[in-house]
Symmetry: C2
């Protein structure tokens, strides 16, 4: 449980910040069903989210502490924790999987606005059967279920010092593991073998979990950056990218590193140079008051000057925290204003020839003094095996 890592005051502050925004958005409560939102406001951590059988509900009321409406088998995890109002039903019970209990809990709150915010919008999903949600809506007569996502994301976007410590620590763990990796790399080894070694090294260095490890390789670059490591064996002239999302206390790092094998083509070396410099420009631009579209422009300017087209990722970085990616996006039509405490990835990429990408990524926190690196900066010249 996160209550072993964070003080109660951490959850109080998160809740109070949400409650201020809820008043602005005219919401009586937030109803949360997804793992990261539940965890953010309660500190509740369980891998039981892997099982789709049981929903877990958290209510952020307009005042006071959160209310948990959860399956009976989870109740012991809330004992002596910050959340004190825990209501349980015997689950599984498909005929009424918590819906009655949840209805009662929501109806008994004061409802000056008659509006409850759900995880309905951008980059959000509701983790309960839609049939049950429709039943809940029918029972909550006179209370409207509306989009609470803008409010939720706004609270989560600004990280507390304790959250930043977690992200910095996992970034440092992954940086060390990446720096240690070349000794495990060799022409003839497969992506899978290399990535398994890296996963084990991350765990040994203190990562709690490694939910994301994408890898791709090819002569002078790679065609995509989202697949799991494959059976392909590394060859002379290859560039290998590994992109890691490891966690500590639920908080992710998300960055990649490139490794060259043998003699790289001139094109690959130029692309590497361009994205390294674009990363520098992105980091320099990440100051309070800048917009995410400014970050995009700063990176694009470097890539264009180098004569490099962008890649197909559609953005060059994003928010980072309890999820591997969070809003906002560094892209031309996202004009989110950066504020102190935001943690973002700086992630320029090029596809300098068809099927040959080079992508870089670093993680930074926005401070009053500009961007502070959470990762250890990748070398300007990629390590060659």
């Amino acid at each position: 449980m996160d209550s072993d890592v964070f003080e109660d005051s951490e959850f109080e502050r998160r809740t109070e910040r949400a409650q201020r925004l809820m008043r602005e958005h005219r919401l009586d409560a937030l109803l949360l069903t997804s793992q990261p939102n539940f965890r953010y406001f309660s500190g509740f951590d369980s891998q039981f989210w892997e099982s789709p059988t049981r929903p877990w509900f958290l209510i952020v009321p307009a005042e006071g502490r959160c209310i948990a409406v959860v399956p009976e088998l989870g109740a012991p995890l809330f004992e002596k924790k910050w959340i004190q109002d825990v209501r349980c039903w015997p689950s599984p019970r498909p005929s009424d999987e918590g819906v009655s209990l949840l209805t009662d809990a929501l109806q008994s709150l004061p409802h000056p606005f008659s509006r409850i915010g759900l995880e309905m919008g951008r980059e959000s999903t509701i983790r309960m059967p839609l049939n049950d949600l429709l039943e809940l809506r029918n029972r909550l007569r006179g209370i409207e279920l509306v989009d609470g996502s803008p409010c939720i994301w706004k609270v989560r976007a600004i990280k507390s010092p304790a959250e930043i410590r977690c992200i910095r620590q996992i970034c440092q763990i992954a940086s060390a593991a990446f720096e240690n990796l070349p000794q495990r790399l060799a022409i003839g080894r497969s992506e899978i073998e290399v990535c398994k070694d890296l996963t084990i090294d991350l765990l040994k260095r203190g990562a709690d979990t490694v939910p994301f490890m994408a890898a791709a390789s090819g002569p002078g670059g790679y065609a995509q950056i989202i697949s799991r490591p494959g059976v392909r064996r590394l060859q002379d002239g290859d560039v290998l990218i590994i992109d890691v999302g490891a966690t500590l206390n639920g908080y992710f790092c998300d960055f990649d590193r490139n490794y060259g094998f043998g003699k790289l083509s001139r094109g690959a070396l130029s692309a590497q140079q361009a994205v390294w410099e674009a990363t520098e420009a992105g980091i320099a631009a990440a100051v309070p008051g800048s917009r995410t579209s400014d970050l995009w422009a700063a990176m694009m300017k470097v890539l264009e000057r180098a004569g490099m087209p962008g890649n197909n990722a559609g953005r060059m970085g994003h928010g980072l925290g309890l999820q591997f990616t969070e809003p906002p996006s560094n892209m031309s039509d996202d004009h989110t204003v950066l504020e102190e405490g935001m943690v973002i990835t700086i992630e320029p990429g090029v596809e300098y020839e068809k099927g040959k990408m080079i992508v870089h990524e670093e993680n930074v926190v926005v401070t009053s003094n500009g961007a502070e690196l959470l990762t250890r900066r990748a070398p300007c010249v990629m390590p060659i095996v």
Copy 2:
């Protein structure tokens, strides 16, 4: 990608089985948004599901192969694979995150029933913003969005020989890792330390991922079975349980093992004996034609004869496959008839004193000859360290 593991014919058979059921349920198509359903029907595997930014849509039409409607950056993963109709939009694009493209794809299908099945029901969630789903519903005038879950779960419940091979293999890997664990156990070590060793051993033995590892320990038993391993150090008289969900090609094992430390209380030993015997009874009862309520009754009979009350899990086992838990549930009011090819967990548990549980679990496949163990049967007497 699973297309490297499974033949195209595997996906053809899955799709044809769904299409037969869709006719019975009067559905023109299934619209799938969640990772396991997308993967089941397409073989598409990516860890990019960790990022909430982009939805991924799969359409199972009434005839022919599936249609993928996916973000552009994922397109390379579909090249030369079973799915040939892949439609892409440049993502992120929050103003239209695939909704127009999806609307067109669904509208262009024949719609004799004017009904499209969604993941709306039991143990299902829809992984797209609800706002976007409401927009889709508005645009699909004359076509009703209905619950497709019964149809989806019915297809997935019967595992193919290739699926069973994957589950058997991961069960064998985890069985070997559990059998090897006692040499890493010692009084004074913490749950976290022991579980990290087990995770690394699982990866070294060939598991792809270890998304679930719950652990709990206490004198003579444990108060719950769903938390992550904690800082608690093992003591004389403790029972430690570790419950593992590791995967191979996406397929889970889900079973636990208990370990005793020093001298166990008489109550703990009796409880261990009772749940071991209840597991035997559950395995013996898992024959085609039995109902899941019969499995429950067979296990309960043994526990009651031993004078043991049940625990708070609410069921004594469940389906298993691409998800860590799947329907059905072994419980008194679930009367699902077992069929050949179903993979289920047999999971009796007792709370013989307040805060002292003992739970056992094995994984079996239902065959014409009865239950076949996929795990290596736990010893009747728990290993004592």
